[in-house]
Subunit: 300 residues, 2 copies
C-alpha cells in the first residue's frame, strides 16, 4: 500500500544539557520516512538546497525510501533548525530557524504518487497542506500534523484542513492551546468534533492518547532510561504508526491501536541517540522484541 509523506528535510543543530551536535540530518519527513520504512515502502516529498550532503540521500535510498520527490533547489540552501533542550529533556527552545528553500517550497507530487493510498502531511502551513491534499486522488487515509504557530496565526485555514483529513496528530500543549481545555480527554474529543475522524495526542515521555467516535484510550511511553535527543520523536512516532497501517492495508480499530503502539516503540528508540543514529542501528526484529516486552508490561 503506497505511503507518501510531505514535510521538511532539515539540517538540525541540537543542544542537550550534556551534548551538542551541529548540522545533523533531521526534518519531519526524514524522521517519518525512516520510521515508516521499518514497516512499509515510503515515498518522501520535500526540498533541500545545494548544500545538502548527498550522503543523506544515499542513506535514505539504501533504506529503500523513495527519494524521487526530494527536490534539490538550485541556488538554494537547506532548511536549518537550531534548538536547545531544557534539563527535563521534554521542553525545548528554538534558538534559530532558517527557512531557506522551505520559504518558497510548493510541493508538487510526482504523477506516480498522486494515487497514493496513505498520505501523511507533516507539519507545514495548513494552506500548503491543503495544496498537497488537492493533488491526491482518492487516498484511503490522510493524516496531518500541525504546530502551535499555525494554531495561533492560521486558525481559519487549519479549520478548513481539519474538515478534509481522516486523522490528526498533535502534541498535548498544542491540543490545550487549540481548545483552551487543560483536560486532554475533553480536548481530544473537542478536536475530533472539528473534523478529523480520529485524533492522536502525543504526550512525549507519557505516551499517546487516541480519540475516535467510539474509542478513547491512552498508551504509555516505553520506559527508557536513555533519552539522548528527543528531536524527531513525534515524527518517528507518526512514521511508525502510518508505516504499520500502510503495511496492514487497513485502519480498523485494532490495527490503529497496534499502529499507535508501534509508533510509540519507534519513537522510544529514536530518542536514544541524535538524529537517526539509533534507528540506523536497529532492525524490525528489535521493534518486535520491544513490542513483546511492551505487551507484557501492559498485561496483568
Amino acid at each position: 500500500m503506497s505511503l507518501v509523506v510531505v514535510g521538511s528535510v532539515a539540517l538540525d543543530s541540537v543542544e542537550t544539557p550534556s551534548e551538542r551536535r551541529d548540522d545533523i540530518l533531521g526534518g519531519s519527513a526524514v524522521y517519518f520516512a525512516y520510521a515508516a520504512s521499518f514497516f512499509s515502502k515510503v515515498h518522501l516529498v520535500g526540498a533541500v538546497g545545494e548544500d545538502w550532503p548527498g550522503e543523506h540521500t544515499t542513506l535514505l535510498d539504501r533504506r529503500g525510501i523513495d527519494t524521487a520527490g526530494l527536490q534539490v533547489v538550485r541556488g538554494g540552501k537547506t532548511f536549518r533548525w537550531r534548538g536547545r533542550y531544557l534539563p527535563n529533556m521534554n521542553d525545548r527552545e528554538t534558538l534559530d530557524v532558517q527557512l531557506n528553500v522551505l520559504d518558497t517550497f510548493q510541493p508538487q507530487l510526482p504523477e506516480a504518487l498522486r494515487r497514493c493510498e496513505f498520505l501523511f502531511l507533516a507539519n507545514g502551513t495548513p494552506v500548503l497542506q491543503q495544496q498537497v491534499l488537492a493533488q491526491v486522488t482518492g487516498p484511503r487515509l490522510v493524516v496531518a500534523d500541525t504546530m502551535d504557530l499555525w494554531i495561533r496565526t492560521q486558525h481559519a485555514e487549519l479549520m478548513k484542513l481539519f474538515k478534509k483529513i481522516d486523522g490528526l496528530v498533535m502534541n498535548d500543549a498544542e491540543a490545550r492551546l487549540l481548545t483552551g481545555d487543560e483536560n486532554l480527554v475533553r480536548a481530544g474529543h473537542a478536536i475530533r468534533a472539528l473534523g478529523p475522524k480520529f485524533v492522536v495526542i502525543k504526550k512525549g515521555e507519557h505516551g499517546a492518547m487516541f480519540f475516535s467516535e467510539h474509542e478513547t484510550y491512552v498508551l504509555p511511553a516505553f520506559p527508557t532510561s536513555e533519552v539522548v535527543d528527543p528531536t524527531g520523536a513525534g515524527d518517528s512516532f507518526a512514521g511508525g504508526m502510518m508505516g504499520y497501517l500502510a503495511a496492514q492495508g487497513n485502519f480498523e480499530p485494532r490495527t490503529l491501536k497496534e499502529a499507535l503502539a508501534y509508533g510509540i516503540l519507534v519513537a522510544s528508540y529514536n530518542v536514544e541517540d541524535f538524529s537517526l543514529e539509533r534507528l540506523k542501528s536497529i532492525e524490525r526484529a528489535d521493534l518486535d522484541r520491544r513490542m513483546q516486552a511492551y505487551r507484557k508490561m501492559l498485561s496483568f
Copy 2:
C-alpha cells in the same frame, strides 16, 4: 490480612478554578482507608481535635473501617489544610496549613494492631514514621509515602527510613527532587538502591511507574474527562493498591501489578468529585467494571 494506615486526618479547604469547598473531610489516612475498604478491612490510626464532626467517624465506621485508633485530642483542633489548584488541575499551591493536633501527635498503635501484616506509613516526618514502624512486630509488607519537605529538611532520617521499608510511594516531582535526575526510569531505580524493595512513582494524570529489582513498568491513568478535585488522588491510589494486596494476601509481581492498576482506578474515581463524594457513590463492582475497560484499553 490486617492492614493498618497511620497518617493525617484533616479538614481541607479546596479551591479549584471553578469551585470551592471549605472544611471538607480529608487527610492521607482518610483517603487511604476509604480506598482500601473496597478490598479489605483496614484500621485507621490518627488524631483529630474536639472540633471533629462526629459524622465523619460515623461515615468511616459504617464503611467497616476500624477507627479505634483515631484519637480525639482533648482541647485540640483538627489538622487543617487549605490549597488551590492551578488551571491544569495538577499543580497546586498550599495557602495555609494549621498542624494543630498533628504538631504533637505521637501515634500509639493499639495493642491489637502491633501484629498487623500490612502497614502503610502515610506522609509524615520520617522520624515519626520510624517510631510507628518500631511498634510493629513482624509485618509482612511496609510501604511508606513521603513529601518534598522531608526530602529537603530531613534527608538523613529519610535515608534511615528507606532501609527499613519494603515499598515506597512518591510522586514524580519528589523523585526528581530526591535524585536530581529528570529521567524517571533512572530516578526510580536510584531510589530503589537506597533501600526499598520496590518504588512506585505516581505521575498524576499520566499514571504510575513501578520499579523492583527485576521489573520496570508504567501503567497509564484511566482517561477521565471529569477532574473535579485531585486532592487525595495519591492516597486513594495507595489505599487501593495496599487494600488489594492485603485482600490477596501476597505481593507476587503479578499481584503487585494488579494492585497498582486498582490503585489507579480508585484514584480515577476519587478525582471526579470533592472529598470522598465520588468514592461514596461507587461500589466494588464499579471498580471491577472500570478494570475491565482498563484491561481492554491496554490490550491489542
